[in-house]
């Protein structure tokens, strides 16, 4: 069964360092997303990506964040200068259609900023 894969599963970094989280969405999907979940809390939307550009982003997704789909398979989230409050679980998701379709989530990348 096709699945969304994310790497790394866990990353520990120092405050101020750059982090790149990687995702391989399901191959025939067209819409890609990043969400984050601070431990035990709600799942927060960060950004959606379609047709090689950002379609929507939240207030959380400030200038420190960027996304890229460099090669048609990977979908990356970069945090340029991490802060302590960036510590969270980051989930990549994809879906075949923008409206009305279910989201398929990866298992997440846990980011710990020290």
């Amino acid at each position: 069964e096709p699945e969304v894969t994310q790497t790394p599963s866990h990353q520990v970094t120092q405050m101020g360092q750059e982090v790149i989280l990687r995702c391989v969405p399901i191959s025939n999907h067209l819409y890609f997303y990043w969400y984050r979940q601070i431990l035990g809390q709600k799942v927060e939307f960060l950004v959606s990506f379609y047709n090689n550009e950002i379609s929507e982003k939240s207030e959380i997704f400030d200038d420190q964040f960027s996304v890229e789909r460099p090669d048609g398979s990977n979908f990356t989230l970069k945090i340029r200068s991490t802060k302590l409050e960036d510590s969270a679980m980051y989930f990549c998701a994809s879906r075949a259609q923008g409206l009305g379709g279910e989201l398929f989530f990866g298992e997440g990348s846990r980011l710990t900023v020290l």
Partner: protein
């Protein structure tokens, strides 16, 4: 204010009992979806109900939607210990391609 809020925040029941979780939202929607999350894992889609539907069933799951009250409920019948997880509702609003998740209900089913 949040688009989706579930209640209760936490629910503990015995195996065999039914579990009901509620979700309220604020804006007009195209559909509402329910997801399950085991501790530390990704979210898994359970069921989708469209805005023109009132009730939907899938196995032991029953979802209702009341668009006039902007609310939905998820009923899990004959619960099992393996149903222990967090359950989130998510709304697909008009003119947007993002899903907005609620605050979740943590369900604990005791054997």
């Amino acid at each position: 204010s949040q688009q989706g809020e579930e209640d209760p925040q936490a629910l503990s029941i015995q195996e065999g009992e039914n579990a009901t979780m509620n979700c309220s939202y604020k804006t007009s929607i195209n559909n509402l979806q329910w997801y399950r999350q085991n501790s530390g894992r990704g979210l898994v889609h359970l069921i989708l109900i469209r805005s023109n539907e009132r009730e939907k069933h899938s196995g032991r799951l029953r979802v209702t939607l009341d668009t006039s009250k902007k609310s939905s409920s998820l009923l899990i019948t004959a619960s099992r210990a393996a149903d222990t997880a967090s359950y989130f509702c998510a709304t697909d609003a008009h003119n947007t391609d993002k899903l907005i998740f609620g605050t979740g209900t943590r369900l604990q089913v005791f054997p």
